[in-house]
């Protein structure tokens, strides 16, 4: 069932309900959380069920110890304690899974928010992948550039910076859209405070993580930081990771990278993450090391 079909179905169901039924359902849904409602709001819009914080309430009937259950439930995004109908999820929980799944698909499939390139003065390049399908099916092409592309990077970007910043949507355009501005601004400020020079920030379309090593070799950056969208899941599809190397090169072992993952509004706040990543870069510079060789404490 695609999104259009779901919307048509929901609208058909709502049309067939009488007013009092809608009101009753709205009240019922409202008892779990104020933001939730299963029915139309005053402005005629269907509320976004993804705004509902399902970790904050319990829908199990007659729990033996609701306080403790809720305390445990709050620790995780996992869909527990949402009740059941026979051996199935309840409608609200099931719709939410569908919605989250759709959010993940959107994050992977949609093209990167290109307005961010101009806003943040990024130098845009592209790997050997020609389109999204090729990007998803050919990881090997996502880490290579054409000779012309390499030449243009060499020609247009600052050479020998302390730090080279690279941004890519990776597997989540949503992650890039939501986190780039705060993360980048905070990271650049942090690098200045740490006394590290930073080169021309580069945007790579259709990129896999090791593409950063090619760019490291081209700009001869000491440290390279790649901010890339993570593979989405059902609990979040807007999460971004920062991969970092010192002295990176093509073919380097993965153990040579540091990563700060889970950067998003409900994970590590992107602004705070940017400040933290700058401090890690300072440690890399001091120790001339990254990955498992870097002593963070």
């Amino acid at each position: 069932m695609n999104e259009k079909q779901i919307r048509e179905l929901v609208e058909a169901v709502i049309k067939n309900m009488d007013e009092s039924e809608i009101k009753r359902l709205a009240e019922e849904a409202g008892s779990g959380s104020k933001k939730t409602a299963g029915a139309l709001q005053d402005d005629g819009m269907i509320p976004d069920i993804r705004q509902d914080d399902y970790t904050s309430y319990l829908e199990v009937e007659n729990p033996a110890n609701p306080t403790e259950f809720l305390r445990i439930k709050k620790q995780t995004d996992a869909r527990i304690g949402l009740g059941r109908c026979g051996n199935r999820y309840r409608t609200k929980a099931y719709l939410r899974i569908l919605a989250d799944h759709a959010g993940s698909l959107d994050a992977v499939m949609s093209e990167a928010p290109e307005y961010l390139i101009e806003e943040n003065h990024l130098f845009p390049v592209q790997t050997l992948c020609r389109d999204k399908d090729e990007y998803l099916s050919r990881p090997d092409l996502g880490r290579q550039f054409s000779d012309e592309m390499k030449e243009s990077i060499k020609k247009s970007c600052t050479m020998d910076p302390d730090v080279q910043i690279i941004i890519s949507e990776g597997l989540s355009s949503t992650a890039m859209e939501r986190n780039t501005n705060d993360l980048l601004a905070s990271l650049q400020q942090g690098l200045k405070l740490e006394g590290l020079s930073s080169g021309t920030p580069i945007y790579v379309k259709y990129s896999r993580v090791p593409a950063m090593d090619v760019i490291t070799e081209l700009t001869r950056a000491k440290i390279t930081i790649m901010l890339i969208g993570e593979r989405p899941g059902l609990s979040t599809y807007a999460s971004l990771s920062a991969y970092m190397t010192y002295g990176g090169h093509v073919g380097m072992p993965e153990a040579g990278r540091n990563v700060v993952s889970n950067i998003h509004a409900n994970g590590i706040n992107p602004t705070e993450a940017g400040a933290h990543i700058a401090a890690v870069a300072r440690k890399m510079m001091d120790q001339k090391a990254s990955g498992t060789d870097l002593q963070l404490f």
């Binding site: 403790e68 705060d182 400020q189 990563v259 700060v260 602004t271 705070e272 400040a275 700058a278 963070l296």
Partner: protein, 475 residues
């Protein structure tokens, strides 16, 4: 990553003076791929001093010289030098805090006991420390009870109530085992206010009289009865209000307690039968028995305290220190800073940077008793400031509002609840330039009017130890 730090607790109480040394273990609890989350993962008392009678000169002054001798002696026995200690607390509690030279003694001790040992007092804090030392907060949290600890010392009884592990009330009464002293069969001392309250009940006890066992028993039963009233186990009588230390207030009358723990010296007397009731030269054993046999105390579940006579000092030595968030920003060489008053931005003013600026400007002068700028910590939740732009606007507001602080040569200290200190601190440092020192910490929960001490950085500079005084929050 794992680091052990050492902490000292020194309690100079109405009847006894004690020390403990404890080990606090700090560890990064986050995985390799996250920003660090450095937390206190263990606390262990590693040395307990002997229990000394608090040395007094007459009834009005603490014998400072003798205290100094006790403390240096115990440091030597425990094998600790002041420089080994990262944190801790010296407190003067109960009736001793009312002695003429209490604050001088505190100050002298605090500077000699270690660079980061702080001086604190006050009945609310004492109640909380004793309860944490007794483990009442843990009982409340793990067993889902509303539980109170009653720490019955020589001069005061300190009550702290916890619900699901969270502090919901404190109280302090002038009820204790050494408010009447009995030596060689004679009453050698009686606390004036208690004497007057007893006289109204027709119980006459005067210093110099031969100790009248029946009168003393009645006096203790009367005090036990008022303890019951203070814990809502019994209806409060009109004169009950007179029992509260410094005209303090009782706990909320609506609180219904599920369980109690007893600590303090008198708690030890509750379990034991003694041949000579005045073996300690006071009425502790008589009071203990009066509480044990009081019918109203039979109605409530009594849990065993982890610590009794040492509860307050264990609380002071192990439960005062917290660590800041693990992503913080500070200029080198400014720490430690002790006794900083906290200016907490009100919830309403946090709504906009302009209101933040105005509130700081308006209230800062109230923190200058001499009229000149002093060190003040600006505190806020910062819940609504997460984006880079928002943080920049907040930083600008703080810089404008708090000009007097950093303009007078003090470091700018900002503490937040929300995890944004590194970004906010960086922004402040960026805007101010290198010459002006900035300290910005997060995961710090404080209230207006609190005082904080910030210690030297730990774990390769990732976190700093923080002690909050006058009110302590449970994380």
């Amino acid at each position: 990553m794992r680091q052990e730090i050492f902490s000292v607790g020194i309690d100079i109480g109405t009847s006894t003076t004690q020390l403990i040394f404890s080990k606090i273990i700090i560890e990064n609890m986050a995985n390799e791929y996250s920003v660090p989350r450095i937390s206190i993962v263990g606390k262990e008392v590693i040395y307990r001093s002997a229990i000394y009678y608090t040395p007094l000169i007459g009834n009005r002054e603490i014998n400072a010289e003798e205290i100094r001798r006790i403390v240096t002696g115990e440091y030597r026995k425990a094998g600790f030098r002041p420089e080994d200690l990262s944190t801790g607390a010296v407190i003067i509690t109960g009736e001793t805090a009312r002695k003429q030279n209490a604050s001088e003694v505190l100050e002298a001790l605090s500077s000699m006991a270690g660079d980061f040992v702080v001086a604190t007092a006050g009945p609310d804090l004492e109640s909380v420390l004793a309860a944490r030392g007794a483990g009442t907060d843990a009982i409340s949290r793990t067993q889902h009870l509303t539980a109170a600890n009653v720490d019955i010392g020589g001069g005061t009884s300190n009550i702290a109530v916890f619900q699901e592990g969270n502090l919901i009330g404190t109280s302090c009464l002038d009820i204790g085992g050494r408010l009447i002293k009995v030596e060689k069969g004679k009453v050698s001392y009686i606390y004036e206010r208690l004497q007057k309250l007893l006289e109204k009940q027709g119980i006459f006890i005067r210093a110099g009289d031969t100790a009248d066992s029946s009168a003393i028993r009645k006096a203790c039963e009367y005090m036990a009865d008022h303890l019951c009233q203070s814990l809502n186990l019994k209806k409060r009588t009109p004169e009950h209000a007179l029992f509260y230390t410094n005209q303090g207030t009782p706990i909320d009358g609506e609180i219904h307690l599920d369980a109690l723990t007893f600590s303090g010296g008198v708690a030890d007397c509750m379990g034991q039968e003694v041949e000579d009731e005045y073996i300690y030269g006071d009425i502790g054993p008589v009071l203990g028995k009066a509480i044990r046999t009081n019918p109203d105390f039979q109605k409530i579940r009594i849990c065993e305290a982890q610590e009794t006579i040492r509860a307050t000092v264990v609380g002071a030595g192990t439960h005062t220190t917290t660590v800041s968030g693990s992503t913080i920003s500070y200029s080198a060489g400014q720490l430690p800073i002790k006794n900083m008053p906290v200016l907490k931005i009100s919830e309403g003013a946090e709504k906009s940077p302009r209101l933040v600026k105005e509130e700081i400007e308006r209230r800062l002068p109230l923190y200058y008793p001499e009229g000149n700028a002093e060190q003040v910590a600006i505190a806020l939740t910062a819940d609504n400031y997460t984006g880079f732009k928002q943080i920049q606007e907040l930083a600008e507001a703080i810089l404008e509002g708090a000009k007097e602080i950093y303009g007078s040569g003090f470091p700018l200290v900002v503490v937040t609840e929300n995890d944004i200190a590194k970004a906010l601190g960086n922004t402040l440092r960026f805007m101010l330039g290198k010459e002006t020192p900035v300290i910005c910490l997060d995961s710090i929960f404080v209230n207006d009017g609190d005082y904080i001490d910030v210690g030297e950085p730990l774990v390769e500079g990732s976190v700093v130890p923080v002690v909050t005084k006058t009110l302590i929050f449970n994380n």
